[in-house]
Amino acid sequence: MKITIVEPKDGEEDEIIIRCRHLDKRLMKLIYSIKAGEDKITALHNGNYFQVAPEEIYYFEAVDNKVFLYLEKEVYETRRKLYELEELFQGTDFFRASKSCIVNLAKVKSLSPAFHGRFEALMKNGERVMISRQYVPVLKEKIGL
């Protein structure tokens, strides 16, 4: 594979362009590692700081100006704001589910209606997260509907 590095012009954003005939497994893995691999989240748990990989996270939730990340069983706290996390994980499996929640789509087991345009996501660890009507189109677009 040929790798070309071009210096952007002044004012231009750094950008990675992948020129390929089709996205194969190897390339997708590469894209995923660029998007998510370096974005480990520093989180607080029982007074200690940990680096948490995004694929371990089920969802983020903001409660009383604090942001928590929910793993399969544990709950960690992060200093990052929800909007920062939304930006950080743009284009990955994470999507905004409500004003206070960002959900990892890879950890959603199923979806069910929750009345008046809202949906409820049943996570693979058994927890339930509400997807507000406002963000349902975001989810639909993500899954290709």
Binding site: K29, A106, P113, R133, K140
Partner: protein, 144 residues
């Protein structure tokens, strides 16, 4: 916005259809000899429209408890709209108890029918979303 408009149109369609059936029944029972003008059609359409709009009074993000309160409130508002318009258009007399009861019963039946129709539609949507979710996750697993 387009999605909201589509949802609204769906509710309006359901409400209008139900109201039309109930009106036919109501006229047959309480006003069998009356000669009706074209205005009754406009009355049905406008009352159905008002009820459909009332169905969409809901903030974007509310808890389940508030949602239930809003649902009850919506039912009360629908009763207000139909009874208010009914008096205005002269559909019934307030002192005629069977007529008032028939109106209340009709509102309740239509409200339940429309709620069930909306629920079924959302359930179908959820089924489609679950299918796509599975495809999404399988594709992702293959890549990993």
């Amino acid at each position: 916005m387009l999605k909201k408009l589509r949802d609204m149109l769906f509710v309006y369609m359901c409400v209008t259809t139900c109201v039309l059936f109930v009106t036919a029944l109501y006229i047959t029972i309480f006003w069998p000899d009356v000669v009706l003008g074209v205005e009754i059609l406009w009355q049905i359409l406008s009352v159905s429209f008002l009820c459909s709009v009332a169905n969409f009074i809901c903030p974007q993000e509310v808890s389940g408890k508030i949602m239930l309160i809003l649902y009850i409130l919506r039912y009360v508002i629908t009763n207000g709209i139909v009874l208010g318009c009914g008096i205005w258009f002269g559909w019934f007399y307030m002192n005629d108890l069977p007529m008032v009861l028939a109106m209340l019963f009709s509102i309740a039946v239509i409200f339940v029918l429309v709620s069930v129709a909306v629920w079924r539609r959302e359930k179908q949507q959820a089924a489609r979303m679950n299918e796509r979710l599975q495809v999404y996750q399988q594709r992702k697993e293959r890549i990993e």
